[in-house]
Amino acid sequence: MENQIVVDAVEHVKALKHTSKKIYGIMAHGLVPEELIYAAGGFPLRLSLTGDKNAGTRGIDYMTSATCSFARSTVGQFDLKNELYKEIDAIIAGNYCNGELCSTEMITHYFKVPNINIVFPSAKTDSALKFLVAELKHFKEDIEKFAGIEITEDQLATAIELYNEERRLMQKVVKTQAEKGFILSGVECLNLLYQHFLYGVESAIENLKAVLKGLESKSPSGVRKKIIFAGNGVPIGDNIIQMIENKGFLVMKNFTWTGLDYYQSLVEGPTIEALAKYYLNAENSGRMILSDSYFTNLAKIFKESNADGIIFYTVKYCSLFPSVISTKLKQVLSDQKIPYLEIEREYGATTDAQLQTRLQAFKEMVE
C-alpha cells in the first residue's frame, strides 16, 4: 500500500501548481539552499521516494545497476510517470554526489525536465567558501531567470529566517527529547522531516509546533537501548529505522540529512555569504572527504549522550561514505571501545533475515 503521506502530497503539490507556483524537485543530501527557492516564490519538493522495486529496475535502463538505489529509483519514478514527480517544473542537483548528478542528467535528457545545477567545492577552506559564495550567486541568478522574478534582499532575509525558525524548532525537539527521555521514536522523528520534504517549510513548522506541544504532556514509555544513527540518509520507502526500532532499539540521534540532528546549526545572517557558510559546513552530508573530526565528534557525542551504540548506514554503491567507514570508523570507534554496527544494503522496505540476525546480535552485544 502506498504511503498515505505521499498520496496526500500529490494533492498538495497539484494545488500549489494551480496557484502558478513553480515546483522544484530537489535531490538528496540536504545541500541545496531551499531558502533561495522559497524566496523566489517556488516550492522546493524534496525527491525522497525510494524503495519501489519497479522504479529501481526501470532506473537500471537509464543508468547502471551499480548506481545507488536512490538515484536509480528517482529516474525510475520519472519513467513510471509518478504522480508527484510529474508536477515538477525543474530539477536541482549538485556535484557532490555522482548518483545525483548522473540521474539528474538522465531525467533532463529523457524526460525533458529542465536542470539547474549547483556546484560545491570539495574542500572547506576560506578559498572554498569564497568560491561557494560566487556559485550561490550564480544559482540565485539561475533561479531568478527560471522563475522570471528578482529575489530581493528582504525576500531572502525572510526565507532565511523562516528556515531558521524551523531549525530552531527541530533543535527544541531534540533538546526536549534529551531532557524528558525520548518520547518520540526514531521513526516519528523521521516523519517530521518527511513533512518538510513533501509539504515544505511552513507545513513542517506547524507540525513541529504541534509535536512540541504534545511532548509537554507526554513521558517516555519503556526502556530501550539507545542508538546513534549516521551515514546515508533514510528516504521515504526505506524501513531501516523501523527495523532497528522493531528490534527493541531507540534511534535517539539521527545525523543524516533525514535526521533532526542534521539541522543543529543556523544560518547566521540574512545574506548569501551566510548561506554559503552554513551549507559549506554541513559536514554530515558526506559531500567531500570526511575530516577526521567527523568520527571523533561522533565518538564524543556518543559519550555525552549516554548512547549504547552507533549504527552506520551505507547504501550499496554509494561512493560517499563506504570506504571511510571501513577504516576510520573502525579505527576511531574500536580504539574507544564504542559498540557499532555497519549496515550496507539497498534502499527498500524489506525484512532482510540476515540483517535481523545482525541487529539481534548487536543488541545482545550492547546489553
Partner: protein, 435 residues
C-alpha cells in the same frame, strides 16, 4: 611474435620498458639521495613535483619484476652487438628467444602484480564495491607507505577517488587540491589559490622553491611528451602506414598510459627516449592496418581487464586505449604568462571533459572518428559511478554514427574472461565480414 621481438629491441622502446619496470630501484635511489617521493594516480601535478625537486611515483609501477635482470641483459647485449642485432645471425639466435621470453614474462609478472594489488586491497578491507582503479591503487600504495612521503590528491567529480584519498590519508599524508566543476572567473581564482597551496606544501616538503624557471622547464618537457603521445595515437589517422605491429603498438599504448602519470619518475629520461622512439617510428611507417579491426576501448580510466590487449591481438584485432586524449589530459599547458594560472586552466579544462555523461560520450565519439577506429568496446566497469552511467547515452549516440560497438563487463581481473573473449571474437568476426 618475431616482428614484436624486433620492435621490442628498438633501443628507446627497450629503455622505456626497462625504466617502467624499475620503480623499486628508482625509489631506493631517490631515498639514498634524500629526494622526496610523491605518490599520485592521475596524470596531474607531476610537473610541480619535479619543479619542487621531488619525484612523482605511480604506485602501480612499484612491484617486483624478476624479469628485470633479463631485460637488463638484453639491453647490454643490444649495446654490445649494436642495432643490427636482429639481422645478425649470431645476435638473432642469442637474443631473440630471450627477448620473447622477457616479453611474456614481463606481461605475466605485471598481471601477477595487479592481481596481488587487488588481493592486497581485499586484505586491507578496502571497500570491495569501489572501482577497480581505486582498489588496485589502494592495494599498491599501502604496502609501500614508508616509501612515499606524501600523496597528491585531487578533488574531482569522482566519489571513489575522493574516498581513496580519504582512506589513504590514514596511512600516507595527502596534499588535497580541489578542481572545481565550474569555469567562471571565481572558479579560476579558486583553482589558482588551491594550486598556490599545493606549491607551498611541496616547497615545505622539499625545502626548495618552485621557481617560474624550473616549472616552465618541466611544463615544456611535459608538453613535448604529451605531443609525442598524441603523435603515437594519431598514427591511426593513416592506418595504411602504421609504424609497429598491432601487438607492439598496443604494448606501447599501455606503457604510455601508465608512464604519463609519473613521467616514469624521470621526466628527462622519458622525454629523451620517447622523442627518440617517435623519431624511429616515423621512419618505420610501413605496416598496413587496413585489414586489422581497430577497436577503441572506452572508458579505461577506472580500470580494464589487463589481458584485453592480448585477447584482441590473438583474435586478429588491435585494441586502442586513448582515455587521456579524450579527457584533455594530453593537451598542452601554456608556457607564457603566469604558469600557475595556466596550470589551473589546464586542470579546469580537462576536468570539464568528464564533467557530465553527455560531454564524456561526445568526447568518445569524437575520438572514435578522429582515430578512424572500426569499432568501440564499451567497458562497463562495475562499481564506477562516474563514467559508466553514461552507457545508455553512449549506446544511443554511437548508433547514430556508422561505428559498431559492443559492451563488455569488468569488475575483477580474470572474471568472465571466456565470455568477454567470445563477445570480442563475435564482434571482430562481424567487423571483418563488413569490411
Amino acid at each position: 611474435m618475431s616482428i614484436d621481438t624486433e620492435e621490442f629491441l628498438i633501443p628507446s622502446f627497450l629503455n622505456l620498458n626497462l625504466e617502467f619496470f624499475s620503480a623499486q630501484k628508482q625509489v631506493r635511489k631517490f631515498r639514498r639521495n634524500n629526494r622526496q617521493v610523491v605518490g599520485g594516480i592521475l596524470p596531474l601535478g607531476a610537473e610541480l613535483v619535479f619543479a619542487a625537486g621531488a619525484s612523482p611515483i605511480f604506485p602501480l609501477r612499484i612491484g617486483k619484476f624478476d624479469a628485470e635482470k633479463l631485460l637488463r641483459g638484453t639491453r647490454l647485449a643490444t649495446n654490445i652487438l649494436g642495432s643490427s642485432l636482429t639481422t645478425n645471425i649470431l645476435g638473432s639466435s642469442l637474443v631473440q628467444p630471450q627477448a620473447e621470453n622477457i616479453i611474456s614474462q614481463f606481461l605475466s609478472e605485471y598481471n601477477k602484480n595487479l592481481c596481488e594489488f587487488e588481493r592486497n586491497s581485499d586484505n586491507f578491507n578496502y571497500f570491495p564495491d569501489a572501482c577497480f582503479a581505486t582498489r588496485i591503487a589502494y592495494g599498491s600504495s599501502l604496502p609501500y607507505k614508508d616509501w612515499v612521503k606524501v600523496f597528491l590528491a585531487w578533488g574531482t567529480r569522482c566519489g571513489w577517488f575522493s574516498q581513496f584519498y580519504g582512506t589513504l590519508h590514514n596511512s600516507i599524508p595527502i596534499i588535497f587540491t580541489d578542481i572545481p566543476k565550474s569555469k567562471g572567473p571565481h572558479a579560476r581564482e579558486y583553482m589558482y589559490e588551491e594550486l598556490q597551496q599545493l606549491v607551498k606544501r611541496l616547497e615545505a616538503l622539499t625545502g626548495n622553491t618552485i621557481t617560474d624557471e624550473s616549472l616552465r622547464e618541466y611544463i615544456i618537457l611535459a608538453n613535448e611528451i604529451k605531443a609525442n603521445y598524441r603523435a603515437v595515437l594519431y598514427y591511426l589517422k593513416t592506418p595504411e602506414k602504421m609504424p609497429l605491429s598491432p601487438y607492439a603498438y598496443m604494448q606501447l599504448l599501455a606503457l604510455l598510459s601508465i608512464c604519463i602519470v609519473d613521467y616514469i619518475s624521470a621526466i628527462k629520461y622519458f622525454h629523451k627516449n620517447l622523442s627518440a622512439l617517435v623519431q624511429e617510428l616515423n621512419n618505420r611507417r610501413k605496416i598496413d592496418y587496413k585489414p586489422i579491426p581497430k577497436l577503441l576501448l572506452v572508458p579505461v580510466f577506472s580500470g580494464s581487464e589487463p589481458d584485453l590487449p592480448q585477447i584482441v591481438n590473438n583474435l586478429g584485432g588491435c585494441l586502442i586505449q586513448a582515455d587521456y586524449l579524450a579527457y584533455g589530459m594530453l593537451d598542452p599547458i601554456k608556457t607564457d604568462g603566469d604558469l600557475l594560472q595556466n596550470y589551473g586552466e589546464y586542470l579546469l579544462n580537462s576536468h570539464e571533459c568528464w564533467s557530465s555523461s553527455k560531454t564524456i560520450v561526445d568526447s568518445w565519439i569524437r575520438l572514435a572518428k578522429e582515430l578512424k577506429v572500426d569499432g568501440v568496446i564499451f567497458n562497463r566497469l562495475v562499481g564506477c559511478t562516474t563514467i559508466t552511467p553514461a552507457q545508455r547515452l553512449f549506446r544511443e549516440e554511437i548508433r547514430e554514427t556508422s561505428i559498431p560497438s559492443i559492451d563488455i563487463d569488468f569488475n575483477r581481473i580474470g572474471e568472465n574472461l571466456a565470455r568477454v573473449q567470445n563477445q570480442i571474437a563475435g564482434f571482430i568476426e562481424i567487423l571483418k565480414k563488413e569490411s
